[in-house]
Symmetry: D3
Subunit: 288 residues, 6 copies
């Protein structure tokens, strides 16, 4: 279960409020690379750990709760970028509707219209956060790769945001979040190391059951057949150490040869069965 | 640009059509772990490669085109599971509406209602494929982790499907797809190896700019402070070799202390400023 | 503006309630082929007609209001299939929770859980209706084709539903709805006829500005070059009467040759610029 | 910021695992009436409270953290309904693929395919949780009504789930969740009482600016004009005490009279301007 | 069933077209606080009323039809803000493509690209209207709270839009819509009053079945245990008059103790069962 | 199966990069009128063709592969509009963060934040591509109308984009795409011609089963009954040649008369059954 206190996890200060940057920060809240995704992803992964894997449940839940605090920090940053205008600017706003226009032409309309100048569970383009972003597959190795990916795109996003602001408060907050993403990338790699031999994921599927003619062949789909380009992925021992890379082309499996669907589907396009002359249809349609 | 021919990439045969398995197969077409995702993900990643990275563009495009062929195979498998009923069953279907009911009680309604007993760009729960599934971040290392994750959850899905069918044709098709996922996991790992030192992603961000007090600390959020559990992720050299893991707690950053939004937002809940007695509001609201 | 009265547009009777059919009927309410789509589509098209096109505004609004009545009919049909169980069945339901299970195993969970055994604005797979289904392009010819398509897939859906039920009340209701779709297909074709020469849509774009080397050529993308198959679409006068069909292949436009993005995007995957040896990167990255 | 410990908030026991009930429970996790919605809604509302409203920030955050614990309980309940099959059933599962089929025909495919028999952030129909479910308007009175509504539909859902299971463990868990919803409905009503005079929301908008001819009139849209039905909402003093209910009809505001869009939009449907004979277009189109 | 006529419900005039305001108005059409939501919400609630509740069906349908007219008004306002530019501006537009750019830099791209400068069924951020916005729970008390909430956030939105425009026509239209929201808030409160004792919703669930140890306790989740803050929601009689508020903490329910999923799920992360040394797995995995 | 080569299908050059136009181009990639939709739509239609319809499978697949090449062209155009800034601008960008701001104020945030200045599978408003856009109904006539509609709105979009740019490279690319849409409109019309008599779609449903009183009547829903306006759609022979248009009004089908749902749904709003005095509920609720 969960607890909270009244403090932010780390200071959030904004010197010069910037409504446009408030829009950008939304990506780090409700975007596919954002904190809602990782907080909930680690939580759902933790929820599914069996009792034998209490260490992993702990590991995931510790970081899930940390990420909830990042949502709070970023939401605070959005509010401060939208609201903490200096007093004269705020006074002026009361007298001059044009200020609202200025705040919004470069901002995200719904931060004002739907949230009264606060953060929302949406991304920088204004799309709602989706449960589809969350990966909790039941297999820890697959999940660790999902987490590494999430922290990689998350840190990439944070560095891009860092480049887009000159505000010292925002740079300080982002430097903290970037540091945490460094740690999280490392900790998920560490967990993967602890899990032992995990490739190919899922490791518990007996590779003798997979088609062994094609499990280590790089398959070229180039229109004209190419020579083996002698890349790391076309020759030599495979990364999982269980095969030898080779270079080939698509095997080909014949034309699909589908039957028609049953008549009740009314897939027949024309009354006469069309111009295609397949008289066999007439035979059956008379029984209808 | 793209080309096609009339053959499937690999044979798709169904001995005993099973509408319920047709529903399950949808996950491998339009699901987050499915083939539409990887085909389009590799394609969009390829589209963004600069001219200096032609090898990577090739690598990605070769596999993108391969994955398109997997969509075709799986769509064919869906149609065959829904339609290739033996002749007597199909004849009976014409006379007996109850057969339709039987086909659908365990199936996915829209495969019949919207697609005339064919595959759709949706997952096994019936949700539409979404462009949100696609990750093409502009950074190849982040993208390779996204690809490893996609092939890990993809192979996991395929092995689960393999366990759920006894049809030899379906098992053969899935054994092929599982093998290809083995290769694809290996090839993206190989690409990552070729890229060199990529951690923490993005490697081009100068780590001196990140907050160096917190970039290798495991942050416990346990309610009661815990001892260092001496895990791989709480002590010793970090996986990227650039730091030393430590164990700590959330630093704390004070209360957020937000200002009120401008009056035009009408965030004030009550006419008298509520029961909270914050008289400072009256000062400003009289100017309104 | 709009009005209503207390009657359904046409009788809706259910002799034998069938929760599974209630699930199927959802497609005709909130599905892409359903009545919410056409009602709102015709409404938004009407809303955008300029004052010179009052006849078309009328035409669209007349049918929009009719379609609203179809939503009401279908919602009533859903409720009756879920609720109008005979008295003994309903009495039993009060005593025996298993009846609820039976009603739901073949039904759609949210019709019970979220709507208390009533219709919802979702499709047969349970996906919410989306504003994305609505096409109102501002160009009447494009809109008329969107309407013909909507009524074609709508009538196809209704005929499939007709085949799936034996209930005389449901068959009667569907026979009415199928008839209306016949009329609506005809009326949108009639509107198109009245609009005059509309091909290619939009007709107001001067065809001399389009690339006249490729505007009537069937472009084969077959891997191996094919002979002209002499189909209606590969030779002879075009359907719009403004060109001559021909048969060719993709022209080819060279390699895309993209530049790298600015450094602040942190697209660089590795610290050394990767193993790809593109020394040009070093030049710029040292300036960073 | 947030913390966690290793315990559930309340016991979750399942005596007889029921995969179909696991599907139903999803509505209480990721559905619009579910716990993800309230946890995140209260959190975002808390994030936006100005420093003068610390009591309300506390109130909201206390309950947000409580609701996170409900997600954990329900996710545990899903896993136990899918997995805690008795030993013989689990042993049999290893030998008999048909058991998987049985577990899934009545369940939700993605709980198996995507989550390895665990909970997902989706509803009972399988739709992903959406940030769109979350209401945090910036105005506390509007938010309190959103919360009362959320707890009303939430408790309604929980009572429906209670009726659908005979498992004593599940009934005990739901009796706890229903009790909490009782409290939460009461606490949001209490907060509203404390806020004072809040109607009509937002109370800070000067009612003299709204159209005072229509602000307390019940507007009948019946096709034939009706008599005042003398309901509570058609006569007598209004609920907010600021007006007198009356009964009337829609005022009517003339035909919209839209101009045509600029030519670059290509809204013109036909080459001759269609059959509508508005010659004015010819004048301008010749300049194009 | 439904009817329409040629008039708007109320005048819609725009003196100075403003494409940016046209973007904002979208929130009132297709946003979660918008008119499509309430029109369809009241309609679906009406569709589900049993024959004993004809007054409520009438009440809901009267207002549903009114709200349809509001969509029409707002769509007209969007078109007029995008199109009714004065003649010189329109003439100039024909000669100068830059005007299009100007119209769009501050506007919503799809209003031009997809709708030819007309309204769309989307919100101000450009997200499509979703059936998920609609609440029709089957329980009238829950629905009335959903309606009060919808009209509260709807009126809040309308007042914010009112503050953002100086156009007298737009202010007049919004003053009308704000007035109608005042009435609608009042009428749903009146309906709730008529329904009698409705708390806690649903009132028909016997409270003796809910867990009576926790149904009126405010549950603090603060990390450090707090004293009772003596708020309206922590002591005294509850709002529903059926309990006494108290103040406590989360009860705690032990560790979840999940079993592992069946082997066919391939949840095992590594070939050796990982580094976790749970030998029990080896026993079963040898049978595989 | 599919193949590719290294060339674009047609040249893509940008003289003056324009981030705002890059945003607009997204509509042609991931929008409902865009190339992802048609590529995948034709592909799914092809996948479902039975073996008797190989010509149609070929026709569809030829164009599907062509459309994939259009996605590549447009993605290249987006990258070039975002990145191919002249050298001084790019150098300046390294020194001056303000340039990033300039690139983004008029652009789409996620093209930078999520894609590193590349194309994404989203539309111009930033919404993700959805599988819901794809129509593959199983009936070729319905599908051909869906294709004509897609190419009509697609060409309309392309002409609007053509009007919004002055860049010669972009105009040349769009002139090519507009030409291809001309051809595609023509080829789907040609396919429809070949199919023969297809109206009303689906032609295989026996029209004697539809309600013949209403299948050719234009149904006016005007509040006051109107005279027949003598339009093409209210009199004369119908377009399908199978009926005679007439003019009438909605038939009316009585009040819906729904029963109450079973008690376990807890649809009852109040404890006393509300103010509606339906005593019959008390009888049953005592048995509960």
């Amino acid at each position: 279960m969960f607890y909270h206190d009244n403090e932010l996890q780390y200071e959030v200060e904004v010197e010069e409020p910037d409504p446009q940057f408030a829009k950008m920060l939304q990506e780090a809240i409700g975007g596919v690379e954002g904190e809602m995704r990782v907080a909930l992803q680690y939580m759902f992964q933790a929820f599914g750990q069996p009792k034998e894997r209490q260490e992993y449940r702990n590991l995931l839940m510790e970081t899930a709760a940390e990420e909830l605090g990042h949502i709070e920090m970023l939401a605070t940053a959005v509010s401060k970028n939208l609201q903490d205008a200096p007093e004269e600017m705020r006074r002026e706003a009361r007298e001059n509707d044009a200020v609202i226009d200025a705040m919004m032409s470069g901002g995200q309309p719904r931060q004002a219209l739907s949230a009264g100048l606060h953060a929302m569970p949406v991304d920088a383009n204004g799309n709602a956060f989706s449960g589809n972003f969350i990966v909790a597959s039941g297999n820890l190795a697959a999940d660790m790769y999902a987490n590494i990916m999430a922290e990689s795109t998350g840190r990439l996003l944070a560095t891009r945001l860092y480049e887009m602001t000159d505000d010292p408060g925002m740079k300080d907050m982002l430097a903290y979040l970037i540091a945490r993403d460094t740690m999280h990338q490392n900790q998920w790699h560490a967990a993967l190391e602890e899990l032992g031999e995990t490739l190919p994921v899922p490791a518990s599927f007996d590779q003798e059951k997979e088609n062994q003619d094609f499990n280590y062949e790089f398959m070229s789909t180039f229109r004209e057949e190419r020579e083996n380009p002698h890349e790391r992925w076309t020759e030599g021992v495979s990364i999982d150490g269980k095969g030898e890379f080779s270079f080939g082309t698509q095997p080909g499996g014949g034309n699909p040869q589908l039957e028609k669907a049953i008549e009740q589907m009314h897939n027949e396009a024309s009354q006469a069965g069309g111009s295609m002359g397949d008289s066999s249809i007439d035979d059956t349609s008379t029984n209808e």
